[in-house]
């Protein structure tokens, strides 16, 4: 054993401190989102993305920028991407009427750089489609939050549902906040990542809740706050092991999965860490704040007996 897990950590002693920390992080995230905004990719903003590779190693980023400047395409950003002579170019201008738009860019660029330029990936998204993708993405996240809320409400009590959903919103806001802070690009795969984070964080929360419910039924005299401590401790090694295996897989994608999956795996890594933290320090304390006791659970049983 590298680290021995003390099975009697008093998590409840830290609730207040971590809740305040989370609150600060959330406010900070909202603040950044409000003032800095998100770096939306072409999926959501429309425009043209070109991943290019120059055949010769010669041309540098400044020359590529110069060449694009001469083409008068409005706002163009050029960034290094992955390997040495790979670049990613984003053009805000949307040209749907000219079918030779991409080809003419390639011709001019090859000419200016004196090198064959290989367009490895081209994405061209019109304003109508990008608006729809944005709407669909937000809809998907909202629906999945609602579906989780509903599922937990059916399986547990409404207080559990509330705790889980607060933890989820906490995870999503902070993850998005980190993306805003680091100016990482938000594209379709990030939406997929956020949804998976929602699923994962829920997964983690449910395991603890399940134990809380079981312990509430089992120990009729112990106060809820101690029950929650006990439940977290009982499930702690599982929480850690699963987080570690998931993170191992994610780090493998992050390091070896290529440049395209970088953003996706980064979001997932953040999400798993935040999700694990929130299951313990956000979702569970909400149960205490909402006054969950043995009675909350037995009410459920009474209903069954009545019927």
């Amino acid at each position: 054993m590298i680290f021995k897990i003390n099975k009697n950590i008093k998590f409840s002693n830290f609730y207040k401190k971590f809740n305040i920390l989370s609150l600060i992080l959330i406010l900070f995230s909202i603040f950044i989102l409000f003032f800095k905004g998100l770096n939306l990719g072409v999926d959501f903003k429309g425009g043209t993305l070109i991943e290019l590779r120059t055949e010769n190693l010669g041309p540098n980023i400044a020359e590529i920028r110069q060449s694009f400047l001469r083409m008068n395409l409005g706002d163009v950003s050029v960034k290094k991407f992955g390997k040495k002579n790979d670049y990613i170019v984003k053009i805000e201008l949307i040209k749907n009427d000219d079918d030779n738009f991409i080809k003419s860019i390639n011709d001019k660029l090859s000419n200016d750089l004196g090198s064959v330029v290989n367009f490895r990936r081209v994405e061209n998204v019109g304003p109508k489609v990008s608006n729809e993708l944005m709407k669909d993405g937000l809809l998907a996240i909202s629906i999945s939050l609602a579906a989780m809320l509903f599922y937990i409400w059916i399986r547990f009590e409404w207080q559990f549902s509330l705790g889980a959903i607060i933890a989820l919103i906490h995870d999503v806001i902070i993850t998005v906040g980190i993306f805003s802070l680091l100016s990482y690009e938000i594209n379709l795969s990030i939406v997929a990542a956020v949804l998976t984070i929602v699923g994962y964080s829920m997964n983690d929360t449910v395991v603890i809740f399940d134990r809380v419910r079981e312990n509430l039924k089992k120990y009729s005299k112990i106060p809820t706050i101690e029950i929650s401590d006990l439940s977290i401790n009982q499930t702690l090694s599982r929480t850690l092991i699963t987080s570690i295996t998931t993170l191992l897989a994610l780090f493998s994608i992050y390091l070896f999965g290529g440049a395209i999956l970088k953003g996706f795996s980064f979001a997932m890594i953040m999400g798993v860490i935040i999700g694990t933290y929130s299951s313990i320090f956000i979702a569970t304390p909400v149960l205490n704040y909402m006054g969950v006791t043995q009675k909350t659970i037995s009410k459920e049983e009474d209903k069954i007996i009545e019927n």
Partner: protein, 521 residues
């Protein structure tokens, strides 16, 4: 929880072997066998290719239809003896001024289910056209427009016709296994695997390819002629509006080389009706120029030297052989009923696809090894059981993806890797629970049995929540993201199967053999 009936065991291992067959069929080429020829398809982001989303612009077609309506309306009003003062088209609205006394007459005709101008759609319970009346002193102003369902019906027809033409054009270019699907009311989705430069297809789809033959007119006549410019230059000439023959009458078109000039040309053949019209027009207009007009641009305007009676002809212009080939292709496949706009385009080159596959495979392998080693380190013998279960899990996952003929995308591979990381969770939950139970229970069998039982609800709840995410992602995600949802969702199902049947059986075998011994978990 530790007892398995023979039938159950048979079923479990039958499923595993059955799915493994499909899984391994991916490795060998076995196209003859109809069962094992199924394969996981690679998405465009992995094999390279182009994705195009086209939107049909039906406005010009609607305008044209309204213009035709006006012509028939004028005729009908005359036949019915309904007097009207003016009849004109503005902003896709037809305006008619009718005497008050004639309004009812008009109304009755317009709403007769057998009328010739305003068809009634039984399936919608609606007429094709709507109208509103504003009253004036002596006459009424009637505004006619397409009803909601009229527009839907027009768009539907246009989309269906466009789909057919697009299919013909793409097929003629000869890319391998193109996918062409309708999306919603006015969109067409095209996937072209293996195509790294969609420029030619884009150019071919960007033209409606409406070809007409018209006479060049000498006098400028505002009503009978219009000024059109050439396709390849800024020159303009005056062309009569009357269409002699249109592309609809073509039955064949081929690129050729002119024997004398060695220039690329397009030779064409008219059908019988077209040949007749063409013969009549060329006979009576020898010495005049004939303009060949494509999408309102003049391709060429040669002088008619002699009557062309056989229905064969040729178009010479400033063609390269490629552009002659493309024009012939467009003429053969027919005109689009409406212009198409490309509203989304994604192209991945084949070398990037290959790089992505490599990167995906390497990260999958490393992630897999790391998890396997970690599980062995944590649980020793039971770690090996969890690892075996993980391997079977992967094989089953690939087997199911193969049966579904699912499309594997780069995010899809990420989904598999993520499944690897999360799949051990079920076994971890169970093992941790058994550890706890072993502290209370003296009997190994009881400890394992209640460990499995008590972990059940947590495992189920935890996996269902992830499954919910995957399902939502599947329905609302697009393209590569859908691939991620599929692998994640299927991964959850195989995970549950492996933990609850395969790993449990291995565990049961071990526990039964070591009933009395100390089990180190």
């Amino acid at each position: 929880m530790l007892y398995f009936s023979k039938l159950k065991l048979f079923t479990i291992y039958f499923i595993i072997i059955f799915l493994s067959l499909f899984s391994f069929a991916n490795l060998i080429n076995n196209d003859d066998n109809f069962l094992l020829s199924k394969k996981v398809n690679l998405g465009l982001d992995l094999q390279g290719g182009s994705y195009l989303l086209l939107e049909v612009d039906s406005n010009p077609a609607i305008k044209e239809k309204l213009q035709n309506k006006i012509i028939s309306l004028r005729k009908i009003l005359k036949d019915k003896n309904i007097k009207f003062k003016s009849l004109k088209l503005e902003n896709n609205l037809i305006f008619i001024k009718i005497l008050k006394s004639d309004t009812e007459n008009f109304y009755n005709y317009f709403h007769d289910k057998e009328n010739l101008i305003n068809p009634y759609f039984n399936n919608y319970g609606s007429y094709e056209m709507d109208y509103s009346i504003s009253e004036n002193e002596s006459d009424n102003l009637i505004k006619i427009k397409y009803s909601k369902f009229g527009i839907i019906e027009i768009k539907k027809t246009i989309l269906e016709d466009s789909l057919e033409i697009v299919r013909r054009r793409v097929d003629e270019v000869g890319t391998k296994e193109p996918t062409i699907l309708r999306r919603g009311n006015d969109r067409i989705l095209i996937e072209l695997p293996g195509l790294d430069d969609p420029n030619r297809i884009k150019n071919l789809l960007g033209k409606t390819a409406n070809m007409t033959f018209k006479l060049v007119s000498d006098t400028e006549n505002l009503f009978g002629s219009e000024i059109l410019s050439y396709e390849n230059s800024d020159d303009k000439i005056n062309v009569s509006k009357r269409v002699i023959v249109s592309g609809e009458n073509l039955i064949n078109a081929q690129p050729r080389f002119d024997n004398q000039t060695n220039q690329a040309i397009v030779s064409f053949t008219f059908d019988r009706a077209g040949a007749k019209k063409f013969a009549r027009a060329t006979s009576s207009n020898v010495g005049k120029r004939l303009a060949i007009v494509l999408d309102n641009k003049i391709i060429s305007a040669p002088v008619i030297r002699e009557p062309i009676l056989g229905g064969d002809g040729q178009i010479s212009g400033d063609f390269t052989f490629q552009s002659a080939t493309d024009l012939a292709l467009l003429l053969r496949s027919g005109a689009l009923p409406a212009p198409l706009n490309i509203i989304e385009e994604r192209t991945v080159g084949p070398d990037l696809g290959e790089d992505s596959i490599k990167a995906g495979a390497i990260s999958l392998l490393i992630g897999f090894l790391l998890v396997i080693i970690y599980m062995f380190y944590k649980y020793k013998l039971f770690g090996i059981i969890a690892d075996l279960s993980l391997i079977v899990n992967l094989i089953l996952l690939i087997g199911i993806l193969t049966i579904l003929e699912a499309t594997l995308t780069l995010p899809g591979i990420a989904g598999i890797i993520l499944t690897v990381g999360m799949a051990v969770d079920a076994n971890v939950l169970i093992f941790e629970r058994i550890r706890e139970e072993m502290k209370i229970e003296k009997s190994n069998i009881h400890a394992f049995d209640s460990g499995y039982k008590k972990a059940q609800s947590a495992i189920l709840d935890a996996n269902i929540t992830t499954l919910i995410s995957a399902i939502i992602l599947f329905f609302l995600g697009s393209g590569p993201v859908k691939g991620f949802a599929v692998t994640l969702g299927v991964g959850i199902i195989t995970t549950l199967f492996c933990a609850y049947f395969f790993a449990r059986h291995l565990t049961a075998v071990y526990v039964m053999k070591n009933k009395e011994n100390h089990i180190n978990l």
